[in-house]
């Protein structure tokens, strides 16, 4: 069961070869068996899952179902789920139960999907290795010594270990694509505004975007179809017509113009990773794509720009965690200031505090123009680079990460080297473009991802290219031996 694609599961459910309750039980058992090694779930919602599965079966019986009715999934613990704890990987929200569900959680529920649980993540989505979670590190199913990537590390881990068929994630600077790459998955960060942010706990509002971590492009397309769409509760949500993201999957990619940014294949890229990517690009060429070198001249500024804008927004977004109305409050506060200081001091982890401080500094009177404003100007230049590139090519291909998964502890003492693991993914968020990472091979038995960047709203095209690639390769069907 766990080797099947969503389409196969869907067909089995609709033909009544298996019930949703059986399928759900099957995955709950796998979670029970394997998650202790992975630590990928913060909360497993067995009871809710079985009751949702029962309703799904009822719907299937009545013929009142959608393509994904009865299919289990896992949600990143950043999406609020009514009546079920939502922690965002933080001690601050260890006791937080939202009275509402995120729009995408509701949409999945309306589609008849079954929530298995909430996945572990870097605290408030700040991290690239899942080492900042209050709930402990998540292991990479391909190598338990290796990080799964972050911040959607739990979601990546559960899908790679096949203890959930598919999972949601969020991506602020690479938090879907980077763990997808490190865990051998297909991960999609949609165009900013395509997926509602309502009920998704904010890290950096102008960059955050919900998306999918899946085993292949087709699965990704199916779940994206459920998640995407305008939401009146999110003012930055885009009014785009509903789309069937599977419609173009089988299109030929003959004549597809792929741009290879020279800035992305130079210094800093692990030569072994580069070799894997060359081979994957060759496959695409054999399928009819035409590659050309392009330049994105301001890309070297994306990491510094990101580390101004994201912390600035985060410093403000995280002000609401003050111990007054919900979340962690310190014991015996002496006065208001003491309550603020200790609640936040004890409730937040080191990386969150670092970013809150950087952001507070960057927005301060006298520094705002030099940092925040300047960063916004450069952000515009970075967007313009992409705009020019898309006048020449249809999509851009690049590494997703500079290296395959690193080991636990390898970068925790050096934040800057950790930040640089997102060097190829960050610019996509700054420009608001869609980006996809797909498994392209292995280096020392650890997966490597190829990133495809498209123009606004070209998700269906990116999924088409990935799907075509997956027709002629089998990286996406390989499974970590321990969990197969």
């Amino acid at each position: 069961m766990h080797t099947k694609t969503l389409a196969e599961l869907s067909s089995a459910l609709q033909k009544r070869e298996i019930s949703s309750v059986e399928l759900t039980q099957y995955f709950l058992e796998r979670i029970e068996r394997y998650d202790s090694q992975l630590n990928a779930f913060v909360t497993v919602t067995s009871e809710t899952a079985l009751s949702q599965a029962q309703s799904a079966d009822d719907r299937l019986k009545m013929g009142d179902h959608s393509a994904l009715t009865g299919i289990p999934l896992a949600h990143k613990d950043i999406f609020c789920t009514s009546g079920i704890k939502t922690t965002c990987g933080s001690k601050m929200l260890d006791n937080f139960i939202a009275p509402y569900s995120a729009t995408i959680v509701e949409k999945c529920q309306q589609a008849g999907m079954v929530m298995l649980g909430k996945t572990n993540m870097d605290e408030f989505a700040m991290g690239s290795s899942n080492e900042t979670s209050y709930y402990g590190t998540v292991k990479n199913p391909w190598d338990l010594q290796a990080v799964p990537g972050g911040s959607s590390g739990g979601s990546a881990s559960v899908v790679a270990a096949r203890i959930a068929p598919i999972a949601t994630g969020t991506d602020t600077g690479g938090s879907i694509r980077q763990p997808a790459a490190l865990c051998g998955l297909t991960g999609l960060k949609p165009t900013y505004g395509l997926v509602s942010r309502y009920g998704m706990i904010a890290f950096a509002s102008s960059l955050d975007q919900g998306g999918v971590l899946a085993n292949n492009a087709e699965d990704t397309a199916l779940l994206l179809g459920v998640m995407a769409g305008f939401d009146a509760k999110d003012s930055t949500s885009l009014d785009s017509p509903p789309k069937d993201y599977t419609a173009r999957l089988n299109d030929s990619i003959k004549g597809l113009k792929i741009g290879l940014p020279k800035e992305y294949f130079g210094e800093g890229l692990d030569p072994e990773v580069a070799k894997v990517l060359e081979a994957s690009i060759k496959t695409l060429e054999q399928q009819g794509a035409v590659c050309q070198e392009i330049s994105l001249p301001n890309m070297h500024l994306s990491v510094p720009v990101y580390y101004i804008i994201a912390p600035a927004e985060c410093s403000s977004n995280l002000s609401r965690y003050d111990g007054v109305r919900f979340g962690y409050r310190c014991d015996n506060p002496q006065d208001l200031l003491d309550m603020y200081k200790r609640s936040r001091g004890e409730g937040f982890g080191a990386e969150v505090k670092r970013r809150v401080m950087i952001g507070t500094y960057a927005l301060s009177a006298g520094y705002y123009d030099a940092y925040y404003l300047k960063a916004q100007q450069i952000r515009r230049l970075i967007s313009d680079d992409f705009k020019k590139a898309f006048e020449q090519v249809d999509v851009i291909a690049s590494p997703t990460t500079p290296t395959a998964a690193f080991n636990f502890g390898e970068k925790t003492d050096d934040p800057v080297s950790m930040y640089l693991s997102d060097i190829y993914t960050i610019a996509v968020n700054l420009a608001g473009l869609p980006g996809l990472s797909m498994s392209a091979g292995f280096v020392n038995q650890r997966p490597v991802g190829l990133q495809l960047i498209g123009n606004y709203f070209s998700e269906d095209h990116l999924l088409n290219i990935a799907h075509q690639y997956q027709q002629d390769t089998d990286w996406h069907t390989q499974m970590p031996a321990q969990f197969s």
Binding site: T86, P99, D322, A365
Partner: protein
């Protein structure tokens, strides 16, 4: 040395929308604590603001009414600071690009009219309330008010006295109520004012150091606080000191201002554009529609009242200061079809007096405009005299609906039958021989006495003009 006062006002007008500026929760006043605060108002994780169109419409109305520019593009920013009644740790406001820029308002002072510049008006959300009583040393937080839409209206430092400041504030108060964008209720905090006050030697071009006065929630407090502050600053300067830039709180009970925080202690609000809200775009057709929706404004109405009804500037000013009063007046006048001045006198006189006494708005008046008109018609056609009308009016105030019924029931109809009046005149003259003799020997003042006696005899119902005429004739006879 002669000192000049310089005042600028920041008025917070609570917009009369049904729901909050960024959520669907109700804005109604007086609900039990925290019953009108939804997830968005509570600043729970993951929630997002969605701008209330109605608030934009109201801000645009204001902008057009003060001849300001309503910006085609304005931006919501976050003002970051920690306070327990500020749920998100930031207030959504407009900072660099407000929705309204550069307008003006004319005030009428004794000597002349004066134009006060309006620098800007911007949309923002209100905070909640901290409650310090009844919690045994702890504080309670009520977030019902959090997210209520405010229009902050910032004037130029154009006012030169507390009197001018009050005139400006009253004019603004009248305007927002005309526009129906604010209920103007100062006790409930719907219309609040902060004042920036400084003094400078008369003739000096640059401004002195200013203090910001907070918590001025009535016209009277504004006047008192400003005058106190002006005295305080002059005292400091005359004794060789320097005024420091600070925020001062007005304490109405002690009638004093005291320092809240100095400039150095001021928060660094770390403003930046709110990434959860797109820039606010106001389209041209929306503005044109809003312009068409504008009611007749106080100045125009006052002007019209002086020309159309030939009322004095003063009367027209009183009647048009409040749109409801003006509407009442016009409704009554139209129905009564009498002299406008007669109607104006009743609305500004007896009606206003009784309303004030009972603390009622004109919209709550027990005597409707139509019923007042019914009475005015009877004055105009001489059925009753002005004096008797007071009696009729009081009866209507107490619940009698119809003037004619009151007149009928109480037998108040004026006596206009001249033979009847003549009979009463004759009787009065006959029964007061001494006064008659005195009058005839030159005590003209006694004429009033005779009028009084006749009116008394008629129980006030005799037509005074006829009484006068007949008395004059009869007293002069022989």
């Amino acid at each position: 040395m002669e000192w000049e006062t310089v005042i600028g006002l920041e008025v917070h007008a609570q917009l009369a929308t049904k729901s909050k500026i960024f959520s669907g929760a109700s804005t109604a006043y007086g609900a039990p604590p925290n019953t009108q605060a939804c997830a968005v108002d509570l600043g729970l994780p993951g929630v997002l603001p969605v701008l209330n169109q109605e608030a934009v419409y109201m801000a645009a109305k204001f902008g057009l009414a003060v001849n300001a520019k309503v910006s085609p593009r304005s931006v919501f920013a976050r003002k970051n600071y920690f306070y327990p009644d500020l749920p998100k740790g930031y207030q959504i406001s407009q900072y660099e690009l407000p929705i309204v820029e550069g307008g003006q308002l004319t005030i009428e002072m004794d000597e002349a009219e004066k134009t006060i510049g309006i620098t800007r008006a911007h949309l923002e959300e209100d905070a909640g309330k901290s409650l310090h009583e009844d919690f045994q040393g702890l504080s309670g937080i009520d977030l019902n008010r959090a997210g209520t839409p405010l229009l902050e209206i910032v004037s130029e430092p154009d006012m030169r006295s507390a009197k001018e400041a009050i005139a400006y504030m009253k004019k603004l108060h009248s305007l927002v109520r005309y526009l129906e964008i604010c209920d103007g209720n100062m006790q409930e905090g719907s219309f609040r004012c902060d004042a920036n006050v400084s003094v400078r030697p008369k003739g000096q071009a640059e401004f002195g150091t200013r203090a910001e006065l907070k918590n001025l929630n009535s016209f009277r407090f504004v006047e008192r606080a400003i005058n106190l502050e002006v005295e305080r600053q002059i005292d400091i300067l005359e004794s060789g000191g320097q005024v420091s830039q600070e925020t001062r709180l007005y304490d109405a009970e002690k009638n004093e201002t005291r320092s809240m925080r100095a400039k150095e202690e001021a928060n660094d609000y770390r403003y930046f554009p709110d990434p959860d809200l797109l820039p606010l775009v106001v389209e041209e057709d929306f503005l044109q529609q809003t312009q068409r929706d504008l009611p007749e404004l106080p100045d125009e109405k006052r002007q019209r009242f002086t020309t159309q009804y030939e009322l004095s500037t003063y009367d027209a000013g009183v009647l048009t200061a409040n749109r409801d009063i003006a509407d009442y007046f016009e409704e009554a006048l139209q129905a009564a079809d009498c002299e406008p001045k007669l109607c104006a006198n009743w609305v500004m006189g007896n009606l206003s007096a009784l309303l004030n006494k009972s603390n009622l708005e004109i919209t709550q008046s027990p005597v409707s405009a139509a019923h007042l008109a019914g009475m005015l018609r009877r004055i105009a056609d001489n059925t009753i005299s002005g004096k008797i009308a007071k009696q009729v009016f009081e009866a209507m105030w107490e619940g009698e609906s119809n003037a004619d019924q009151v007149i009928e029931k109480q037998g108040l109809k004026q006596v206009t039958n001249s033979s009847k009046i003549e009979q009463m005149v004759d009787e009065v003259i006959a029964s007061n021989p001494k006064q008659l003799a005195d009058y005839r020997s030159g005590k003209d003042k006694l004429f009033g006495f005779f009028v009084g006696q006749v009116m008394k005899a008629s129980k006030g119902k005799a037509n005074p003009a006829q009484v006068n005429e007949l008395l004059k004739k009869k007293l002069a006879e022989n």
